[in-house]
Amino acid sequence: MKSTIIKILKEKAIWMVFIILFVAFSLANPRFLSSSNLFTIARQVSMLGIASIGMTFVILISGIDLSTGSIITFVNIVAAFLMVNMGFGMVTAIILSLILSILVGVLNGCLISTIGIPAIIATFATQIVFEGASYLISGGTPIYGFDERFKVIGQGYLGPVPVPVIIMIVCFAIGSFILNKSYFGRYFYAVGGNEEASKLSGIRVGVTKYLVYALSGLFAGLAGIVMLSRTNSAQPTAGLGYEFDVITCVVLGGVSITGGYGKMSNVIAGVLIIGILTNGMVLMNVSTYMQMVVKGIVLVLAVGFDSLQKKRALT
């Protein structure tokens, strides 16, 4: 009985952190709890949430994807370029740019799985290449002037609920489904837990890696589209450094950086923590510099608590 409670507490520790932060901000500023602010937070984290799904898969197979941010940028620029400079329709442009983002993921998969470059190096290389490519395409200037309907994706509402939030929820549902129900989702755990054993059990580890990086590319691309619609203008700096925010969410959400362990539900908590932290600190007038310091400390505290527990359990 007691041990069950402890187990639940441990497994859901990150939700505790979330609740504590939530209560703290609510007490500190009554505006925080207004329904409009809560929707604002949800809308603000939607891109982070969407991108974190792919990153969860990647980290589960004990990989890492440093190209997420530049895929977001790339998709922003490409979709905008297609719509504005090439006169493509909205839907075609979105589909084409999502296909491209999948292809970037496939390229990552190829470098990592087929050529055998360590993930951190391979995705860093694609990061700078596609960042460069985004500048080359855009010439460094923002691209804007889209169809009015394009705004709906990032700025629209369905009843009281913002469209990007709905997209995020759908994506999380798909992500959970893949991880928990689909057979290839189970392969992610297998490959992350023991690559050699997976291979010898007949799992096509190479294919799995391609799939995971392609999915990471796709979700990054989706986040990019939502961002583009939200900003309504494509900037060659759109996704700069975004990968680390995403990795932070996933790691906060308890996904083991060495692979094999992790749950989608806790990643959602990780995303929400970053969301309310950013929102709450602005509501409380914390300066930019101080926000950096606070975020670093929260990260250390949240992950450190978890790490200490695991370390104790070992000896």
Partner: protein, 496 residues
């Protein structure tokens, strides 16, 4: 009679950079037979059977399954053609449940959705057949190594294979578990399944197999009919020379009254209330089933795990080592059971491995005395007869027995007084085993003391001066040399 063979390996050759692991090895398996594959460490047994699943791609040679020829296997092809393999290294995924591990790579599913319920049901059936009680939902990482191995076996059986290949399956198992495994093997044989069985335990080979294939240095040596062969012949074929006796005699050097290590009511790390005394110059054997908590006990002595209660007295002084370093400085050494993971540093040279605990001592102002470093390593190489072209060789390229010698050499160089051997001959071939026994005797002769953990009854009784038996983290009995008896020990080991 060719059709009688369900699996044939033809002229398999495997080269690694700088090593030829297999030189033109051929082997045939008949339907429904149990074929034993034996050879020294590094003879190429694992490499050979790995070619059957594509885990190793042979440089040349062919694999013929049921008349179909393959030059290139893959795990998928192997499964499709009815070959199941239990590998020497664990092949489970710790983050997945027992049931999911059973169906790893081939889950029961509806469309793309996995059917966990169905897998759990099947798993339950398979476990019942093996006579093991495992909740299919538990994560494999939470199970003991014995259970993990049983899952491997269950997994292979579930595949409904025509050929089952088992690479040292009994190494991590308790006697009872080995028994249920044997029963399953018999059952499978009756069903017409062929089995390739690899083991260093010759008694198992004699109990199970129909024929024996011997490998040496990557070469095929001979095939024997089990019931017509003799152990001495087998050993002769394996090591290329005859070995007279396994346990060399030793003079009793220990003194009854000189205690080097005493534990008083020691608890922690899963053990409770341990009281024991180790006399200077003796080999004290620790007996028990796998999971009895012996490794846990010596981890506390070696400072690798925390004790929560009790006192440890070493050479008359209370000690409380908080790290292996402290224990080493006191003169305690540990030869761990998991050689590759805990014993040697695979990626660095023999020389560096041997000097690792004493680098600080042979350095002046933190600069290593290279001459001394080499001298010490050379001395070890000579004394322990480590087989290697050069001391700069990385340890990964050594055979299991030689790796074990490097570990022992390391502690001799560190001049440790109390050496703890945890399963020192697990997975080590007969030839190397004999050498390690001889080494242990030499250690004792030089006035040092040994604490020996072994799950092999013969070894424990053959080497020890005294045996203490543990079960479930407690001491359940102690025997003097004159009382050594397999049954008594087994009884104590299974007492709760």
């Amino acid at each position: 009679m060719k059709d009688d063979y369900i699996l044939e390996l033809q002229h398999i050759r495997k080269e690694y950079p700088g090593v030829v692991a297999l030189k033109d090895v051929s082997l045939e398996v008949k339907k429904g037979e149990i074929l034993a594959l034996i050879g020294e460490n590094g003879a190429g047994k694992s490499t050979l059977i790995k070619t059957c699943s594509g885990a190793v791609i042979p440089t040349s040679g062919k694999i013929v399954i049921n008349g179909k020829e393959f030059t290139h296997m893959s795990p998928q092809l192997a499964a499709e053609n009815g070959i199941a393999i239990i590998y020497q290294e664990f092949n489970n995924v710790k983050g997945l449940s027992a049931a999911e591990n059973l169906f790893l790579g081939n889950p029961i599913r509806k469309g793309i959705v996995v059917d966990k319920k169905a897998m759990e049901k099947e798993a339950e059936k398979a476990f019942a057949q093996l006579n093991i009680k495992i909740d299919p939902k538990t994560l494999v990482g939470d199970l003991t190594v014995g259970y993990q191995q049983m899952i491997e076996i269950a997994k292979a059986i579930l595949q409904d294979a025509k050929v089952l290949i088992m690479d040292e399956p009994s190494a991590p198992l308790t006697t009872a578990e080995v028994e249920s495994m044997f029963k399953v093997c018999e059952l499978l044989r009756q069903k017409g399944v062929s089995i390739i069985y690899i083991s260093h335990r010759l008694e198992e080979i004699y109990r199970l197999s129909d024929r024996i294939v011997v490998l040496r240095d990557g070469e095929y040596i001979k095939t024997l009919i089990t019931k017509d062969s003799h152990v001495d012949e087998l050993i002769q074929l394996m090591v290329g020379r005859s070995l007279s006796e396994t346990f060399p005699p030793r003079e009793e050097t220990y003194k009854k009254d000189e205690i080097i290590l005493e534990l008083q009511n020691v608890s922690g790390n899963g053990d409770r209330n341990i009281n024991l005394q180790v006399r200077k110059g003796e080999i004290l054997g620790l007996g028990g089933l796998v999971g009895a908590g012996r490794t846990e006990l010596v981890q506390m002595i070696f400072g690798a795990a925390k004790k929560t209660e009790g006192k440890m007295i070493f050479k008359g002084e209370e000690i409380n080592p908080k790290s292996p370093r402290e224990a080493i400085d006191l003169g305690i050494a540990l030869v761990p059971e998991d050689r590759k993971r805990h014993g040697v540093l695979l990626g660095i040279s023999i020389k560096n491995n041997i000097n690792m605990p004493i680098y600080k001592k042979i350095s002046r102002a933190s600069v290593i005395n290279n001459k001394k470093e080499l001298e010490i390593a050379k001395k070890c190489e000579e004394e322990l007869l480590i087989k290697t072209p050069t001391l700069h060789q990385i340890v990964k390229n050594l055979s299991g027995g030689n790796q074990q010698k490097v570990i022992i050499g390391k502690w001799l160089a560190a001049n440790s007084e109390l050496l703890i051997f945890d399963e020192p001959t697990r997975g080590i071939d007969v030839g190397a085993k004999a050498e390690i026994y001889k080494l242990m005797n030499e250690v004792i002769a030089s006035g040092k003391t040994i604490l020996l953990i072994s799950s092999e009854m013969e070894e424990l009784m053959g080497m020890s001066d005294r045996i203490i038996v543990l079960a479930e983290g407690r001491i359940t009995g102690e025997l003097g040399k004159e009382d050594f008896n397999q049954e008594t020990i087994m009884k104590m080991a299974s007492a709760v």
